[in-house]
Symmetry: C2
């Protein structure tokens, strides 16, 4: 989880981010002070400002780290899974990953209790982008033959965004002993989507995997560490 290929942070940075993560998940962004983080990470407050310009940028860095750790689990699960190339296994594993990743979950559902003020700034942007990416993704998938030809990619993308959002949210509302097992529901949902919109043949499976890798690479380009805020470029 820490020290993956795509984690550009030093060990100490990661310790600080670990502290920030656990505190923010517990107390929320607003109630988590920089001193708290420093204390829990066993560094001085000054040290934190050696790594990031502000609390905001520290949090930004935390978000990227978590997103990456989440994305990497997702990709590696897809690569390993027998149905990894089918259109909606992508969906299945991303949701299953969300289920096990409290921080991503808070991001995904725009949990105000955790993201606090920070949210109001980025607000709907996260979901919006996710939806837009979903549309592009599904269009690619359709070109590659992994999405049924008669399906409207925009509608399917919208539907997928909604289902994912709804599943996570409703799971928070309905008590566990009333609701069926969440992972089973996800599995069932992915199956259903696959039957409705997927193309089952070998070729599309391969095409699917191809696209997923492609999209991941593109995303990596877009969010290189330069976007991250190690304001002192470490080695000048």
């Amino acid at each position: 989880m820490t020290g993956d290929n795509n984690n550009p942070n030093t060990e100490r940075e990661n310790r600080i981010l670990d502290a920030a993560s656990s505190l923010v998940l517990h107390y929320g962004y607003d109630k988590t002070t920089v001193s708290d983080i420093a204390h829990q990470a066993r560094v001085s407050k000054g040290a934190i400002y050696l790594h990031w310009k502000s609390k905001d940028e520290l949090f930004q860095a935390l978000i990227w780290r978590e997103v990456w750790s989440y994305a990497e689990t997702w990709i590696s699960q897809l690569e390993a899974a027998p149905d990894g190339g089918s259109l909606f296994s992508m969906y299945k594993y991303s949701l299953a990953g969300l289920h096990a990743h409290p921080f991503m979950r808070a991001l995904f559902t725009r949990d105000r209790r955790i993201l606090g003020d920070f949210l109001t700034r980025q607000e709907a942007e996260l979901i919006r982008q996710k939806f837009i990416m979903g549309k592009d993704f599904l269009r690619l998938m359709q070109q590659a033959g992994a999405l049924r030809e008669d399906a409207d990619p925009d509608v399917v993308a919208y539907l997928m965004s909604s289902i994912a959002y709804g599943l996570v949210k409703v799971d928070e509302i309905v008590s566990p002993d009333e609701a069926p097992d969440f992972l089973r529901v996800i599995e069932e949902t992915a199956d259903m989507l696959n039957r409705a919109y997927g193309t089952p043949d070998e070729a599309s499976q391969a095409a699917g995997k191809q696209i997923i890798r492609q999209v991941t690479e593109a995303a990596k380009m877009q969010f290189t560490p330069s976007q991250q805020s190690n304001h002192e470029q470490k080695k000048e």
Copy 2:
């Protein structure tokens, strides 16, 4: 909308509820004062307390009225529609109705801006109940042969709750020019669910309509006007 069969309110009560409805939708429960309502309904404040014990009970009555008006449109649409007995047309028309009914929408999505403090009291109860009702309903449907035998009614109910919730919520987040037409998505969703879980034959269509009527009657029994808060029983 006012004066339906199942609306047990007098004309003046309805005028007051109309006022309350429009004010609450605009300013939210907390910021809507009883005096405001009285003024807009062209009655005195005292008159309002002739009909309901408290602001809370007035609002409770409003909720029931709106729920009924919504439910009645829903039922009548189902009765009229050619696919009215198919399992997921029920879903389609309920969501389409939601789309056109701001108050129900606020209830359904537990919109804090509108429901204010009132929400914290009933909180998750609304969604929970809806989910439980959904489970029972789908079990009945399955017994009657209108839900595919190999489907797990609990999972399907959960899925439907989630999709409905997600669709409405995500529609609020994604800008209209990016999102596909909402009603088209609903139509598509209902179709998909129908293909995945429905039974297409004539007999199940009839059974479906039968069940829907049955459930509606049961619900009417459960929420008779006595539950409503005309605290002075009008005629003793």
